[in-house]
Symmetry: C2
Subunit: 91 residues, 2 copies
């Protein structure tokens, strides 16, 4: 499973992830995968929209997949469900 | 433009919107549109995942569209951009 074309969205500023995606495209990737879960899902959409609106208007948004992941944390007895998103970008 | 099959996601608890979607399906709608913008985008994905995981496992997620809306507020001089999502559900 190659993750060299995947950007995981966390809690850093949007532009950090914008830059990460652009760097992947500049390095020759034809497709970049933006992944996020929980509250970061909104940021993932922001990242894609900023790239499209400001830096790469020709960028195409491919498939968008939503899902659920089960997280088990040592502090809790029960696993918690968290929503996920995967946005495929290609030029 | 009919919006009778659209649920707009705001800041209420997830289950409120889950109920709103389920009510539309029960009332005979074949397709329900879940719309959100900004921070509520994550909640929109939560809503869909809860419906699928807990209440209607047979539900199908159709097209997911992301975009940007320009908001003008009287407090600000410049319009601000906000990300949007539209998730199509059908049974």
């Amino acid at each position: 499973m190659s993750r060299s074309n995947t950007v995981f969205i966390g809690r850093k500023p949007v532009l950090n992830y914008v830059l990460a995606c652009m760097t992947l495209f500049k390095s020759g990737q034809e497709e970049v995968l933006v992944k996020a879960r929980g509250r970061s899902i909104s940021t993932a959409v922001d990242v894609v929209e900023v790239i499209r609106g400001r830096f790469m208007p020709e960028l195409k948004v491919g498939e968008i997949i939503i899902g659920t992941e089960e997280l088990t944390s040592p502090d809790r007895n029960q696993p918690t469900n968290v929503s996920t998103i995967e946005i495929k970008l290609h030029r």
